[in-house]
């Protein structure tokens, strides 16, 4: 073997080695974060965490019952707002894929997806907090919804495009209107995937803090009143993490563990659902 060939081989193996090392390098922080969240979180997680209200400063114990319910309500509000808009605009983008307006909508969706979450918060503060001079759960839900729309729209579009065109054509040939063909044939075929997209959108939005900081704010008390400030897991973790109290730090870790668990569970559900879809489409 000439030296030149040897050198080329060496460069190549170094390159392969670098790529492998990159994967490991990315997995190290992942392992570290999961390790700390689990070990720190498990110590402070108890039944009280889910059933009790936050304890006053200096008192041990207490939980985040209000924040957990608050997060559920806020994410639910967001989904309520985002699902119809997201799915229907996704249908538009896939059914009229070649049109100019569809490209504009697609561009808007990607732009919206790239808007920093804190900026969404500022926007919602301007339209839904300032006019009423009141922080509210509704404003928080609106902010989360705005962040969900583009995710749902783009997943819906991508998945509808995967449905074979012949299915749509058969329905149309049988005399169905376009709407009927889409809603009874095309959408059901892509439904598992669309639901996967929803789950992923919920997972991403459940972990958002920035858009809630000055929309739903925080609340030390339990409330289901949508026109009042509402506590959420993420904002609560932020408040506790930036406090000087040991007890609150422990609570923050427990909250982080719950958040990571929710995200992990959603991702796994999404994975399994996608796998099912794959086996379906290969028949």
């Amino acid at each position: 073997m000439t030296t030149r060939a040897r050198r080329r081989k060496l460069v190549s193996s170094l390159f392969v080695g670098f790529c492998g090392a990159s994967v490991l390098l990315a997995l190290v922080p992942l392992a570290f974060i999961l390790f700390f969240v689990v070990t720190q979180g498990v110590q402070s997680l108890s039944v009280d965490f889910f059933t009790h209200m936050p304890a006053p400063v200096g008192e041990a114990g207490g939980g985040m019952a209000n924040a957990i319910v608050g997060s559920l309500i806020l994410v639910g509000l967001g989904a309520l707002f985002a699902v119809p808009i997201g799915i229907l605009s996704g249908i538009y983008m896939s059914e009229y894929a070649g049109t100019r307006f569809a490209s504009i909508v697609r561009f808007a969706a990607d732009t919206l997806n790239g808007v920093p979450s804190i900026v969404v918060g500022v926007f919602v503060y301007g339209v839904a907090v300032l006019p009423f001079k009141q922080f509210s759960a509704l404003a928080g839900g609106l902010a989360l919804g705005i962040m969900m729309i583009p995710i749902i729209a783009r997943t819906t579009e991508e998945l509808l495009l995967l449905v074979p065109g012949t299915m749509r054509e058969v329905a149309l040939a049988l005399g169905a209107t376009h709407a009927r063909a889409v809603f009874t044939v095309v959408v059901p075929a892509a439904l598992p995937g669309i639901i996967t997209g929803l789950v992923l959108a919920v997972a991403r939005i459940a972990g958002e803090t920035a858009p809630l900081l000055f929309t739903s704010l925080n609340n030390r008390f339990f409330t289901t009143n949508l026109t009042q400030p509402m506590s959420s897991l993420t904002v609560q973790v932020y408040t506790y993490a930036s406090s000087p109290y040991q007890d609150w730090h422990r609570q923050a870790w427990a909250g982080a563990l719950v958040l990571v668990f929710i995200v992990l569970a959603c991702s796994l559900v999404a994975r399994v659902a996608t796998r099912k879809l794959v086996t379906l489409s290969s028949h």
Partner: protein
């Protein structure tokens, strides 16, 4: 197509598409409207003034713009080689059985909430960075990049945590882009006796527009990242080259001071920072999308019939 109910369907769904377009426009308009006081008072000098003194009513965004760009560029410098390495490893060097596992793990990195990164940053990363900074040789501390006392909280911690958060975004798009490179190109290279390195760099070069798009997408993410950064950067609005110095970013100042803004001018100045952030991310993201689209579109349409629906492509 001539049936009226089909037209109704088109208009009906199109209306919801219009909502998205209007939302983007509304965000821009609302930010301008709500920051008008500050735009009128400071004009363009807002962008280049260093002083941020709410008590005196003096507002300049330069320290925040600087902090955002500096932290994001540093993060990009760390994250890009790693992200491309991962993309290549998954697309070209992994047995197909292992692929989904690696994809899942790297994507998990993107799924962890920002606040969890921040929490981990405060209690684990920052102390580690602090001891690293204290152990730094004095000779290097003379350089402007490493000057100042070792706080731990500061630019270095922010850049590191941002890098970790950006990697999955860049690598997943880069992977998509690599998939769009015709296989025949790599096969041809191998047939001519190219090594792996030569064949893959040729593919990367072929895909360069998309790769640049992927990097820019990561940049856009880093620019807007809020919680993790504000928790570790030290939140001090001072221009500095030093990696050890506590600094501030646009997103961080919004998260920190928004609820404290007690005068209309203060609030308007903060919202104008939001506007600046919006405009910068808009430009970066649009550019990145254009580059990725020009690369991945034709190939993806080809592959659509055979490929597996990728849930992760919804980023």
């Amino acid at each position: 197509m001539k049936r009226p109910e089909n037209l109704a369907f088109r208009l009906g769904t199109g209306l919801f598409g219009l909502v998205l377009v209007l939302l983007v426009a509304a965000i821009g308009l609302e930010l301008v409207r709500q920051s008008w006081l500050s735009i009128e008072k400071f004009g363009l000098s807002f962008w280049r003034t260093q002083v941020w003194d709410p008590v005196a009513g003096q507002f300049g965004a330069l320290p925040f713009i600087w902090g955002t760009l500096y932290s994001s560029i540093l993060a990009l410098a760390i994250a890009t080689p790693i992200a491309l390495g991962i993309a290549v490893f998954i697309s070209d060097l992994t047995p197909s059985r292992l692929k989904p596992v690696l994809v899942f793990l790297t994507e998990l990195l993107a799924a962890i909430p920002s606040i969890v990164y921040g929490l981990w940053g405060i209690f684990v990363l920052v102390p580690a960075v602090r001891s690293l900074e204290s152990a730094f040789p004095d000779a290097l501390k003379a350089l402007p990049f490493f000057s100042g006392p070792p706080f731990g909280l500061g630019m270095l911690s922010a850049a590191l945590i941002l890098a970790v958060m950006v990697v999955p975004f860049t690598s997943s798009v880069a992977r998509e882009v690599l998939k769009a490179v015709p296989l025949a190109q790599r096969e041809g290279a191998y047939a001519l006796g190219a090594t792996r390195f030569e064949a893959i760099t040729a593919a990367l070069y072929y895909a360069r527009t998309g790769i640049i798009g992927a990097i820019l997408l990561g940049f856009g993410r880093a620019l807007g990242e809020t919680m993790a950064v504000t928790m570790v950067i030290g939140n001090s609005p001072k221009l500095s080259l030093s990696l050890f110095a506590p600094q501030h970013t646009m997103a961080a100042v919004l998260a920190n001071e928004f609820s404290e803004a007690d005068t209309p001018l203060y609030l308007n100045a903060l919202i104008e920072i939001g506007l600046v952030l919006f405009v910068i991310t808009l430009i970066v993201n649009s550019l990145s999308r254009l580059l990725i689209w020009s690369m991945a579109r034709p190939a993806r349409q080809q592959a659509a019939a055979t490929s597996v629906p990728a849930a992760e492509s919804a980023i």
